[in-house]
């Protein structure tokens, strides 16, 4: 099994010990590991979506590293290691098998599960979780995380949260947070005016966003622990595009006064504001490099919008994107090696990724109206907004491995402008 996994990843990734480091994107359709996730014994809740095996199937499938085998027509589904017919499952091309058992009482749920290597006929993981009955999805996500880390060597993000804007009936706007797959949604801000540019702080404690409730854009920071919110930028003109510094202590923001958008840096409470640079063009959508040494941003100084980078120590500015005439909304991977952004490809707005070492560019999606990409906190997926013709905007993830696209399960309203919590949330 180890050999199979090694060969598979060797095609795409360099593996130092057990951690995958994404250093290159070669593109194309990746080979996925085939996994059969068997319904857990006695997991008999009515809402099938919340059954543990369905949570795990959805998670593993979303990651792009796994092909989930349909077990619908199989008669004898094993629920313990002794029941497993290895030749049958290898005949179905299943490389991995996930089985388990559930015990539910009125208040408690206990889940025992095993991850099995079918070809080696060997158990890779056996473990158990217990919690209250409302934690069934969380337990499923934790099991997915263990499987993901065992196979890829990287931390899973299935337990993390996302934030996004939901527009209701054209006159109501909610800033929601939910599980990363869209479940357990709740509104933390409601407004009659538009909300855009949600940004989760790297320390996990706050979300910065832009609200039009003062009849123009201003910047608020919402504290997720105590629910308090603070107006941090309400200068003359527009206030927008907040971006957290890696230590969560500063915000880069964009102000206009009575002229073009320009980037400023201030303390996260709105004090000590300083202009970052002067230009006679649009400078907007700042985003900090994870090492805190530079800020990437969008500027139309060369004609159309392109992504640039300013070194904070030397104030040297360098253009980063060269492919296409319209590249906006830059966001960096947690290791700072990949840049995701929106690129206009002959009228189709797609999610692009640029390797910042080789400068190779890949398009992760087909468009036509994709927006606002952000990396998952392990850098393996990108969350973005898309709008199919005649439909409302909604959110999906796309994996860097295999470009697997999977929608976030939200009700039918318009959802957009997403942000992703840090991994330790």
């Amino acid at each position: 099994m180890k050999k199979i996994i090694y060969l598979f990843f060797a095609l795409f990734y360099f593996i130092p010990l057990h951690a995958i480091e994404v250093i290159d994107i070669l593109g194309g359709k990746a080979n996925e590991l085939s996994v059969a996730v068997i319904p857990f014994q006695d997991d008999l809740i009515e809402n099938e979506k919340n059954q543990i095996h369905n949570v795990i199937k959805s998670d593993l499938s979303r990651s792009g590293f796994f092909r989930v085998i349909d077990t619908g027509g199989v008669n004898k589904l094993p629920t313990s290691v002794n029941d497993v017919d290895y030749s049958f499952w290898s005949g179905l091309q299943a490389e991995l098998l996930v089985i388990g058992r559930v015990q539910r009482s009125d208040e408690q749920i206990k889940v025992v599960y095993e991850l099995i290597d079918v070809f080696k006929e060997k158990m890779m993981v056996s473990s158990e979780y217990s919690g209250n009955t409302k934690q069934d999805r969380q337990i499923g996500h934790q099991i997915s995380n263990v499987i993901y880390e065992k196979i890829t060597g990287s931390q899973g993000v299935f337990h993390t949260k996302i934030g996004f804007v939901q527009k209701i009936n054209n006159n109501k706007y909610h800033l929601n947070i939910s599980d990363m797959d869209g479940f357990n949604k709740k509104a933390i801000v409601t407004s009659t005016q538009p909300i855009i540019s949600t940004r989760w702080s790297p320390d996990g404690e706050k979300i910065a966003y832009v609200s039009f409730e003062k009849k123009k854009p201003v910047i608020y920071v919402q504290n997720l622990r105590n629910g308090e919110r603070k107006l941090v930028a309400n200068f003359k003109g527009n206030n927008s595009a907040p971006a957290w510094s890696p230590d969560s202590k500063q915000l880069a923001i964009v102000l206009t006064y009575n002229a073009f958008s320009q980037i400023y840096v201030m303390d996260a409470d709105g004090k000590n504001i300083k202009r970052l640079m002067r230009s006679r063009s649009i400078d907007t959508e700042p985003t900090w490099a994870p090492d805190g040494k530079s800020i990437y941003f969008v500027s139309d100084r060369g004609g159309g919008p392109q992504i640039y980078k300013i070194d904070l120590a030397t104030e040297q500015i360098r253009r980063v994107t060269f492919e296409g005439k319209y590249n906006v909304s830059p966001q960096l991977s947690p290791d700072g090696k990949l840049l995701t952004f929106i690129t206009n490809d002959n009228g189709f707005f797609k999610v692009g990724v640029q390797n910042l070492i080789s400068n190779q560019v890949m398009k992760l999606t087909q468009g036509r109206n994709d927006e606002a990409p952000v990396f998952s906190p392990n850098g393996h997926m990108v969350l973005y907004t898309h709008k199919d013709s005649e439909k409302e905007t909604t959110l999906s993830t796309v994996s860097l491995n295999g470009f697997k696209q999977q929608v976030i399960n939200l009700d039918s309203s318009k959802n957009y402008e997403a942000t992703w919590s840090p991994i330790d949330f």
């Binding site: 538009p194 206009t256 073009f260 969008v298 318009k414």
Partner: protein, 166 residues
């Protein structure tokens, strides 16, 4: 006589003190009267009749091409008419509100809407409108038709001119 006057004044003062609610009740009608006469003054002083009837000044939207911010020549007459109007009436204050169609990023569209409103302001400045009379803002794509197709989207690439007095 003197004594009487005094007494009368005292009464009036006392009455004044104790009848505060009465005075309050009177106040709004005074204010209304004041405002009404002010409004009459404004109409003539700020040339509001012209603003509401002039064939160019009643046109309040300037349209742009995709990802463009230059004022097209066909709109220069309208922009210049508003600039001339502002120059002739230094008390006038206007807002230029920029918009963009929904395609592309919300933030870049906010910046683009702002650039469009600034570019209209720049034309107005050269035609004599004072910078202090003009405020530029942007709503980006937030008020735009999220389902527009083709030429229809051009309706959202615009700057709207509005006046404080209206």
């Amino acid at each position: 006589m003197k004594k009487l006057v005094f007494a009368g004044l005292t009464l009036a003062l006392l009455a004044g003190c104790s009848s505060t609610p009465l005075n309050d009740a009177d106040a709004p009608s005074d204010a209304k009267a004041g405002k009404a006469s002010e409004a009459v003054d404004q109409t003539s002083e700020l040339g509001l009749d012209k603003l509401r009837s002039d064939s160019l000044l009643t046109q309040r939207s300037i349209y742009f091409d995709f990802d463009k911010f230059e004022v097209k020549s066909e709109y220069l007459d309208i922009v210049n008419a508003h600039a001339q109007y502002a120059a002739d009436h230094p008390g006038v204050k206007m807002t230029l509100k920029g918009h963009a169609d929904y395609r592309g990023s919300h933030e870049y569209n906010l910046s683009l809407g702002q650039k469009r409103s600034v570019s209209v302001k720049d034309v107005m400045n050269t035609s004599g409108a004072n910078d202090s009379q003009i405020e530029t803002v942007s709503y980006g794509e937030e008020e735009s038709n999220q389902n527009c197709q083709g030429n229809e989207c051009g309706q959202d690439r615009r700057v709207d001119i509005s006046y404080e007095v209206e």
